[in-house]
């Protein structure tokens, strides 16, 4: 939870503070509020927990206690391309843990973490609901079924290449615009 907030996030935080006013100061609203914050920021920085606690008039540790209890809330910013590896029962039986391990090895982070350049993050999820495709990994909303360890490297490479191409296109277009 010690990442510095980016300028954008600081802006979003101000927006959240305004939005908070629409929620009644009622303890039952704590989880819906945390969900709203995460929807806006993609994670819960400690600054956000502070203003939530202030709004509801409860101590910060209470908010932190509730937030850490539930799997939904994350305290690290996710990567630009979040990788979610399904470890539901069906995927486990079909060796989903090997897929997770391969992503961890290739990206050099462990599950729950984000790469230093904030490009990729790895998360384990329980059943995404397409057990017939097991094992399954989701990268940036796209579901990849029947995963194999050898597919992992290709998927990561493809994303990196695509980024490079986009960047090149951008550069190509820039002189034309100015």
């Amino acid at each position: 939870m010690n990442e510095e907030l980016t300028e954008e996030e600081k802006e979003a935080l101000k927006h959240i503070a305004l939005k908070l006013e629409t929620f009644e100061k009622h303890r039952g609203n704590l989880i819906p509020i945390l969900q709203m914050v995460q929807n806006n920021l993609a994670y819960l920085p400690s600054e956000a927990l502070k203003i939530v606690a202030q709004h509801l008039g409860i101590i910060e540790s209470e908010v932190y206690g509730v937030a850490t209890f539930y799997n939904q809330f994350r305290f690290h910013p996710p990567g630009k391309y979040p990788v979610k590896v399904c470890l539901g029962t069906a995927c486990h039986v079909k060796a989903g843990d090997i897929i997770l391990e391969n992503f961890e090895r290739k990206l050099e982070i462990s599950d729950g973490e984000t790469t230093p350049d904030r490009e990729f993050s790895i998360e384990r999820v329980a059943c995404v609901g397409c057990c017939a495709l097991a094992p399954v990994a989701i990268i940036d909303e796209t579901v990849h079924g029947h995963m194999a360890p050898s597919k992992v490297e290709g998927l990561i490479l493809r994303i990196k290449l695509q980024e490079e191409i986009e960047e090149r296109e951008k550069k190509k277009n820039e002189p034309g615009q100015s």
Partner: protein, 650 residues
Amino acid sequence: MSPDNRKNIDIKFNAIRKEAEKHRNEFRDAPVPKIHIGMATCGIASGALETQKAFKEALVENDIEARIHTVGCFGHCYAEPVVIIDHPDSGFPPIFYHEVTPGKAKMLVKLFLGGGDPRFEHVYGATEENDMIPSVTDFSRFNQEKRIVMEKCGRIDPEDIYDYIAADGYSTLVKALKLDPEEVIKEVTHSGLRGRGGAGFPTGRKWNLAKSVTDQEKIVICNADEGDPGAYMDRTILESNPHQVLEGIAICAYAVGAHKAMVYVRSEYPLAVKLVTDAIQQAEKLGLLGKGILDSTFDLKIDVFQGSGAFVCGEETALIRSIEGYRGMPQHRPPYPVQKGLWNKPTVINNVKTLASVPPILDHGATWYRSIGTQNSPGTAIFSIVGNVVHAGLVEIPMGVSLRTLIFDICGGIQNNKKFKAVQIGGPSGGCLNEDFLDTPIDFDSLTEAGAMMGSGGMVVMDEDTCMVEVARYFLDFTQKESCGKCTFCRIGTYHLLKILERLTKGEGLEGDLELLETLSQDIKAGSLCGLGKTAPNPVLTSLKYFRDEYEAHIKEKRCPALMCRPLTAFYFDLELCARGCDACATCCPVDAVFTTSNRKKGVDQELCVKCGECLVACPPEYDAVRKVSPPDLVPYIEKPPEKEKKDVK
């Protein structure tokens, strides 16, 4: 309700129904082909969105007019994306196509819609009896099911309330509103409906208890916090037919006298959240929910609460705590939630499947419902069957069907002609049953007797390549993480259970570990407050009971009989079979553990190998040279040439 009131209800509802029928007839009678696409989460995950796009594009390209109808899930997950094409002009009945990729979609538009050729090689079956194409109703996966709760799933558009009303939806709510609440409860009690959340508490009795509290505001909660990894029927029902659940909630609220209801659904199910929220709005707009339902004196406000993903919140007292904004920790019972629940008000909490069963019961009557299933467990059971089974997906069967019928007849048996080993029923709280139990009838009591439980309805079928110790470890890993930490036995006990199991799967098991597992399991069961702790040791206890020899092999021989526990297995290449110069395994190895021997065959560097099994898949079948063995010291020694030479070969 007064007679006047009853008359008003009928007038109001008939007007809505007429409108719905108008919508349906307009769609049905349109003289163009209809394409029904299954678009629940499972369909979308398999690519239904791309398929839909391809259909749309192809229709424009070929200048063909057709209607696309998005429906929910058929339950046939093995076949997703599923499409039914109804093209009456071609002379064929509606045809069921499976695994419709965008390419297939474009081809079907061009050749079937455009040319009248249904492409028999891609046809799965016709949806009705006919002389030309085998009908899916002849397949056991279709005709042995008995659909009550899921009857309309996959047939109607979940986003269109009129679709549901035209299919007789909300008519039982009207029927209920014209009865006295007592009569509704009597009917539900008489039907023998038992809670489908796992424990099987009689629903009628629960409602009666809530009804008997008269002086307070009451709340109805629909529990859709389906946390079992591998079970997804609640989600499918909410995504395919949310209105049937809402109708069930409304009937329940009317019966017990509540004016406030909540659907507690996991936020991990974004599509379900969206569809339920939309469905509530649609129903309110038509006056089927909200203030003065159908001009009667009955009000009901339904809200959606998004659960934040904690397995323990499936337990009713924990669920209540989480709505109140606290950590979801279970509370002592009594007082039961029906006496003192959410915000200390009497609260009825029912599972999605229970509530969705209510409209059909009131529609056809309690006696009809009792005629399905068994004496003590009437009705149907819905299972999500996954794992090493051919026709995975959702199945709704009458209670009392045997496991053998379910797995081998309905779901087509085990994949790749492997041998059946075990079936795990009830998720992390359930148990593993072996072959001897295949003839056990599926109902609440028989399963509990066998040591498993109905639970949420997750069912994982495992073949001979699955290690039971590893499966037990997997479930314990899950429950240990999900234990809320309130009871010491659950919090620390599950941790130690997990540590022992981990030890076993690494081949570091000690003499006496099995006895320790057993006593520790019993202690956890005795010392925990809620269902999570009470049932967490079940996977260990049942697998220990029915697969003890496998546990012993792990301890005494340091061997995994199913070749699944990675620290206990190893790969090598049979040099007799390995083809000289072939590089298939080396190129696919994610860790470069494959080296070339001095005579250009392959060997595995055991220190580098992560045992992912890719080489086994990559090795061409004509060589089939990869061998997997347990324990690892069975691997023959294959000399690795010095580093420099390896570079030369490359």
